[in-house]
Each structure stands twice: as structure tokens, then as C-alpha cells.
């Protein structure tokens, strides 16, 4: 009898960290729903789904490299550059190739740019053995510059309606298309991280570089591909966000760098590397998006919103520090 209560107590304690974030998200939604019934209206729920799926991709991009004890400060620049470049390709090609092929070319170019930026980061981090913070700081600066240069600093309009429809407004079984893509990516990433050698090596890399070496894996290749994955995920975010705003924006990703790291870490990835699954970006992006949409509905002053997010960030990081101490 007493044994049973003990085990159930232990179970609860083991379950605690897993339940904390979903409960926090539900609490945030409940509080704002009480203050503003509009929080639960159909439009707003769709909005939350869309926004958090868009944000999910940058958080994922961050997660993949955070697992290896890295950083990717260039995700924002990737989003901006992909947005501008793919818009330019689409507007340039559509008159001659038609909507379908033009959009296809734009999307492919966008993904390629993401992969290329990731490859540059990966080369310098894995093969050049330079600190990822410095590498991605520099590439962030470079590719933000490229994005503003090729666009001249102005938004690129006249994107085809088919593009915004196909990548933002379309719904399948009532689910908005960004959410569906996010679900597919989440499944793929979860599979890659937990069921493949590549994924396991990334965790080992985050725990200890030497162990990975001793384990006989070609560590550099895996590290390189982690950055490429990060770049591609960021470019998907860039494409979807471009479809959302309906124009190619050279500063689309500026504010995403810090908040993407915040989302991954609040969700449970540790900056010390080696931990964090697919649940981290899911919870992290939901929490941050629900908070900011709720605060907008409540009409909280725009400059005070970052104060709240910052406080949550420090709190989440403190929680992470506490968790590692307990372990």
C-alpha cells in the first residue's frame, strides 16, 4: 500500500517537467480567454495555429544546432534573404513561365539558399573549428547585408496570389497549410533525431565531442549536416512567412534570432547541448505565440511586451539550470 503511493508519487515527480509546459500554455490561454473572449474565437485559433507553425520552423532550426552545443544566429538573416530572393525569382519568372513553374522555381531557389547558408556555417564550424557563435554572427551580418542589397532595402510586391494561397490560406480538413507542413516536418525531424544514427550522433556531439570521436563516427560530417538542416528549416520558415505577408521583406527575420533561441530553450533544449527533443520547439513556439497574441488582444503597450517575454526567458533558463542541477 505504502509502496504503491510512493511509486505513484515518484511517477508524478518524473512526469512533472513534461506536464509543466503544456499546463503553462493552457494557463496562458485560459487567462487571456477570461480577459478577452476573442482569444478563443475561430479566427483567433486559426491565427494562433498559423503563427505558431511559422515560428515553429525557426525554433526547429535552432534546436538542431543547439543539440550539438551550437548556435545559429543566422536564422533571421536566412529568413530575410530567402524571402527577398524567392520573391524576386517569382516576380521575374512568372511572366515567362507562368504561375506554377515560377512558384516552383522560387521555392526551390529559397530552399537552396537556405541549404547554402547552412553549408557555409557548417563548413566554418565543423571543418574550420571556429566558434559557432562567431561564425553565425558573421554570416548573419553578411547575409542580412546581401538581403538588403539585392532588394535595395524595399519590399518586393506583386507576388502571385496562388503562392499566398498555396502556402498560407489553403486549408485541408480545416487545418491551415502551415500547420500541416509543420506537422510533417515535426514528424520527420522527430524520426531523424530519435531513430537515425545521424540524430543520435548529434546528441552525443552535444554531450561530448571526444566521445563522438572515439565512437568512430565521422563527427565533422554530422555537425556539418546539422547546420545545413538548420539552414533548410529556416528557409522553409522564410517561404511560409513570405506567403503570410504577401511580399518579400528584407527585414522579415530580424527579430527572430533571439526569440527562436528563446523558444527552443523554454521548450526544454539546454544550451549546454545534448538534450531537447521535438517537443521543445512545439511547446516553446506555442507558448511565445499565445503570449504575444494574447497581449495584443489585451492591447498591452507594444514596448512592454518584450519585457514580459524577457522575464519568461530568464525564468525558463532558470528552470533549465535547476533541472540540470537536479539531474
Amino acid at each position: 500500500m505504502s509502496e504503491q503511493t510512493q511509486t505513484s508519487g515518484l511517477d508524478l515527480r518524473a512526469l512533472g517537467p513534461h506536464l509543466l509546459l503544456p499546463l503553462a500554455i493552457v494557463a496562458v490561454i485560459a487567462v487571456f480567454a477570461m480577459l478577452q473572449p476573442a482569444m478563443l474565437s475561430g479566427d483567433n485559433v486559426v491565427n494562433i495555429m498559423k503563427q505558431s507553425s511559422l515560428f515553429f520552423f525557426v525554433a526547429c532550426a535552432q534546436l538542431v544546432v543547439i543539440i550539438t552545443r551550437g548556435f545559429d544566429l543566422s536564422v533571421g538573416a536566412t529568413v530575410s534573404l530567402v524571402s527577398v530572393a524567392s520573391s524576386m525569382v517569382m516576380t521575374a519568372l512568372i511572366p515567362s513561365l507562368g504561375d506554377g513553374l515560377g512558384i516552383f522555381a522560387g521555392v526551390v531557389i529559397g530552399l537552396l539558399i537556405g541549404a547554402a547558408i547552412g553549408a557555409v556555417n557548417g563548413l566554418l564550424v565543423a571543418y574550420g573549428r571556429i566558434n559557432p557563435f562567431v561564425v553565425t554572427l558573421a554570416t548573419m551580418s553578411i547575409f542580412t547585408g546581401v538581403a538588403t542589397t539585392i532588394s535595395g532595402g524595399f519590399p518586393i510586391f506583386n507576388l502571385p496570389d496562388a503562392f499566398t494561397f498555396a502556402f498560407n490560406q489553403m486549408t485541408i480538413l480545416l487545418l491551415p497549410i502551415p500547420l500541416i507542413i509543420a506537422g510533417l516536418v515535426a514528424y520527420g525531424l522527430h524520426f531523424a533525431l530519435t531513430r537515425t544514427v545521424h540524430g543520435r550522433v548529434l546528441y552525443v556531439l552535444g554531450d561530448s565531442n571526444e566521445v563522438a570521436h572515439v565512437g568512430g563516427r565521422r563527427v565533422k560530417e554530422h555537425l556539418f549536416f546539422a547546420y545545413v538542416t538548420s539552414g533548410v528549416l529556416a528557409s522553409i520558415a522564410g517561404l511560409l512567412m513570405t506567403a503570410q505577408t504577401g511580399s518579400g521583406e528584407p527585414n522579415l527575420g530580424t527579430s527572430l534570432v533571439l526569440s527562436s533561441i528563446a523558444a527552443a530553450v523554454i521548450g526544454g533544449a539546454s544550451l549546454r547541448g545534448g538534450t531537447g527533443g521535438i517537443s521543445a520547439p512545439v511547446y516553446g513556439s506555442l507558448l511565445i505565440v499565445c503570449l504575444s497574441i494574447g497581449m495584443n488582444l489585451q492591447q498591452i503597450n507594444g514596448s512592454l511586451q518584450p519585457v514580459v517575454i524577457g522575464a519568461i526567458l530568464v525564468f525558463g533558463a532558470a528552470l533549465d539550470a535547476y533541472r540540470t542541477k537536479v539531474r
Binding site: 548556435f71 566554418l124 574550420g128 573549428r129 571556429i130 566558434n131 557563435f133 562567431v134 561564425v135 554572427l137 558573421a138 554570416t139 548573419m140 551580418s141 553578411i142 542580412t144 547585408g145 546581401v146 538588403t148 542589397t149 532595402g153 533571439l258 533561441i261 528563446a262 530553450v265 544550451l271 549546454r272 503597450n301 507594444g302 514596448s303 512592454l304 511586451q305 518584450p306 519585457v307 517575454i309 524577457g310 522575464a311 526567458l313 530568464v314 525558463g316 533558463a317 532558470a318 533549465d320 539550470a321 542541477k325
Partner: protein
Amino acid sequence: MTAIAASQPSRLGRVMKAIGILPVVLLITCVLLALYEPRFLRTSNLINVLRNASFLAIISAGQMLVIIVGGFDISVGAIVALTSVSSALSMAGLTSMGVESAPMIVFLGCLGGLIPALIVGVANGFFVSVMKISPFMVTIGTMTMAAGIAGYVTGGTPIYDMPELFTREIGRGRLMELPYVVYAAVIVLMVLWYMQTQTRLGRYFYAVGGNEKASRLSGLNTRKYIWLAYILSALLAGIVGIFLTARVGSGEATLGSNLMLESISVAVIGGVALKGGVGRIQMVALSAIFLSVLSNGMSLARIDSKYHIIIIGLVIIIAVAAESYRENRRSGHV
């Protein structure tokens, strides 16, 4: 005879190793600029470069201290903004309260600006050293909070109504042709140089950053030194905030928004290793001058400002790649 001949190149090599490649690059950049663009050598332009370098050097000195103890300070730019807003607000407030003496207003206003900076620094240090939270997360958090508060307090409009003494004297005044901020930078650099090379405190900073566990086990209060580094960094950022406010003549919540990246770039180009325990103030000062010369040269050569960030990014990569190449080769020999 042969011994001397043999020792000569090695001495040159040793000197090169001691001073590094940065002074050479700086010299070459200056000479090329002077040849290409004679306006570079005008006194007014040189003073301009020196002024920008001083702002950068002060804030990067703080960044350097934090990086040496193995951290980061992302909040420095937001501290500049917060200091600017709060010092301008306190000066405007004191003036409207009817305080007559201008030096008093300026003095209290500067204090009013430095207090929020101090608070942010203390908070950063507390969370990093006592709570053991990753410095990156802590300073991102305090950065967003400080920038948000600065934006909220001003409501997006600059704050004027500061005494003439502040905006004209401190902001634009000169002593022997040089702006005051240059002297401030020289004092900061000298003090830090003395601290790093001559005092125990300086050595303890290196020890804590080089190997925290070993320093703790050998009896150092590592928390104290980490905390102190963040406080110093915040105060130096506050000083930059006050000088910048005086220079632009108004308290602005957007001041210093790119100083965070620039200060980290300066530290990194100046050879401060992000793994901690390495970094000299002289090199950071040189690197601040180098970046100022570079951006001044690009402006003089009418290179579009959009290219500036591309070029600075490339310079960071080249500097760090050269450093890591040198390090790899050195460790390969041993």
C-alpha cells in the same frame, strides 16, 4: 656572428607573435586609405575616427571582461539605451523641479543614468554567477526587458530639455582639440591595462575564465569575480550611454542598438577567445580603432552603407579563421 643572424629572424618572429597581425593590418589599412583618399588624413576626420573608436573601445572593454570570465553580454546595447533615456529623464525632471545649478543637474542626471545600468549589471551577474544560468539566455532576457522599458518610458519620442552644459560642453566640447570621450576612453583603457597586467584582480579574472573549477578549488571566490565582470561591463556601457546622449543631445530609446554586435565583433577581432581566459585590453583598443577606420574608410569611399555589414562580417570571419589557424598550427607543433 651567425648566432646573431640566426636569432634576428626569430626575434622578429617573436615580436610578430607578441603583437599579432592586427597592428600590421591596421597600419596597411590606414596607409591605403590615406593614399586612396587624402581626406582621410584631415584633422577633423581623424578626430571623428578617434571619437567613434573611443565609444567602441569603452563598451568593448566591458564586453572583453565578461568574455574573459567565460560569458557574454548581449545586453550592452540595451543598457546604452536605458542609460540614455533615464539620464535624460532625470535631467529634464530636475530642471523642471527648479534646480538652478547646471553642474548639479548634470551630475545627478549622470548618476540617474548609471543607476539603471548598475541594476542591470547586478541582475546579470546574479543570474549568471549565483543561479548558474547560461549567460547568453540571461543577457538576452535582460536586453529585451531593458530595451522594452526604455521604449515604454519614452513612448518612442526622444527626450530633450537637457542643460546646455551637458549637450554642448560634454557632448561637443574639446580639450586640446580632442573630444572628452577620447580622454574617458584613454582613462578606461589605462585602468584596465593596469588591472590586467599588474593586479591580482586581473589575474583572477583570467583564472576564473580559464578554468572555473580549478580556480574555485584553489580558493578563489569565482562567483564574486564573475559578478564583478558583469557589473563593470554594464557600468562601462552606461558611461558610453551618457556620452552618446550628450553627443546626440537627446535621450533616445534606440541609441546603441548595434553596439551589442559591434562590441562582440571588436572583442573577437581583438583576439579575445570566446572560451574564456584570454584577451588583452591593448588588442581590443586596436581592434576598436581598426573597425572605426574601416567603416570611416568605407564611408569616405562612398561604399553604400548596406555593404558595410557584409564587409564587417567578412572581416570577422577572416580574423577568427586566421586566429584558429594559428592556434591549430601551434598546437600541432607541440
